[in-house]
């Protein structure tokens, strides 16, 4: 089995940690909304909705911290993939039920769930599991530090761009549906 270049590994860790940090903070900032969102997914009995609304952001922040701080980050990588898979399944189940109008609860602006989220989370879960690949031995120089910082900035920017693009696409589809009646 091959190895992953330490530069790629470092960028992946930092990007995933940034993703979870952002997600966890966004959820903590509006716990009332999160509670409503979880209830809307209709996957948990009502008594568990409130505990889940506290557990999810806590788990997300723990994954972010575990990825960065833990020298043995395999567990955090698996937890990251598991959380992403959980969200993907929750969205897929509700799409299958035909409940398309519920808020996905991702990010800042309310947005209906969409199969894009299932695909996105699957890709992110695979990237999380890529952290389990052994890291190759290579001495890192200053140029690697520059590359890592630039690559992280580019990845974060591209992710935000893709998300906004998808947001626009959904807004366009909704507007088209409304015109058609």
């Amino acid at each position: 089995m091959g190895t992953l270049d330490p530069l790629l590994h470092a960028v992946l860790v930092a990007a995933l940690a940034a993703l979870w940090l952002h997600a966890g903070i966004a959820k903590l900032r509006d716990l009332a909304r999160l509670e409503g969102v979880i209830a809307d997914y209709r996957l948990l009995p009502e008594a568990l909705v409130r505990p889940a609304s506290l557990a999810l952001p806590a788990a997300e922040l723990a994954v972010a911290a575990g990825l960065v701080a833990w020298p043995e980050r395999g567990a955090a990588a698996i937890a990251s993939a598991a959380l992403l898979a959980l969200y993907a399944v929750a969205v897929a189940v509700n799409l299958r039920r035909g409940r398309r109008a519920i808020d996905c609860g991702c990010g800042d602006a309310p947005r209906p769930i969409h199969r894009w989220l299932v695909g996105r989370n699957a890709v992110l879960a695979v990237l999380s599991l890529a952290l389990l690949v052994p890291v190759g031995a290579r001495a890192l120089g200053w140029l690697d530090a520059v590359n890592a910082a630039m690559a992280l900035a580019a990845v974060v920017g591209l992710y935000a761009t893709l998300e906004q693009w998808q947001h626009n696409r959904q807004a366009m589809q909704a507007a088209t549906r409304m015109e058609e009646g």
Partner: protein, 207 residues
């Protein structure tokens, strides 16, 4: 040679980051444009009692045991707000409803409406959000009479028992647009825009 590669690497990174920033800014602008061209004001669904019609009179039981004749002529206008404890947008609008009920108390009474069998859930919801001041109706016939499809849905019933304005409301502005639409004598902000488009020479709207 090696130095040339280092320099070109850094130059390329800078170019990539600038491009990412530009693409993001463009996509963001498209998003803002979508928000600007989105329908303004409360969206009126094309079913249920029409604006101007007599409101259907529905007897509905409130959580505290009272029975209300919703839609019957009254001294004040009635704002009928359809909500559900599991609807996040409804919760966000509650402060707007409360402040509207306070500032417009002289001419407006607010009635909250929901449905479902589990009265305890609704009682907890009322307690948690301190909604005891408003009648809180649990009535499926009421929602069906108004053909409420999506929440939060608001209906403004005039003192004469006629439908003054109604629609799906997602924001404080859309909620206020119902009162404004009534003040202007139009059914909805959409109709206001359509009327202005149809008769540009008129320039003003009947008060």
């Amino acid at each position: 040679m090696e130095q040339a590669l280092v320099v070109s690497n850094i130059v390329l990174w800078i170019a990539v980051l600038v491009l990412v920033a530009v693409v993001f800014a463009l996509v963001r602008q498209i998003g803002v444009l979508h928000e600007r061209i989105a329908p303004m004001g409360a969206l009126v669904m094309d079913h249920g009692p029409a604006v101007g019609d007599l409101a259907p009179v529905v007897a509905a039981r409130a959580l505290d045991g009272r029975t209300l004749q919703v839609g019957a002529p009254d001294a004040r206008q009635t704002l009928l707000f359809f909500l559900s404890p599991s609807c996040p947008v409804c919760k966000k609008l509650l402060p707007a409803i409360e402040s509207m009920a306070r500032t417009e108390a002289a001419r407006l009474q607010v009635v909250l409406a929901s449905d479902g069998d589990d009265a305890d859930t609704h009682r907890r919801f009322v307690e948690r959000h301190a909604l005891q001041a408003f009648p809180y109706l649990l009535s499926q016939p009421l929602g069906m009479a108004w053909r409420v499809g999506k929440l939060p849905h608001a209906v403004l019933i005039g003192a004469d028992g006629r439908v003054a304005a109604k629609g799906l409301v997602n924001s404080r502005e859309q909620l206020e647009s119902l009162l404004l639409a009534d003040d202007l004598g139009v059914a909805s902000v959409q109709e206001y825009v359509a009327r202005r488009g149809a008769a540009p020479a008129a320039g003003e709207v009947r008060a």
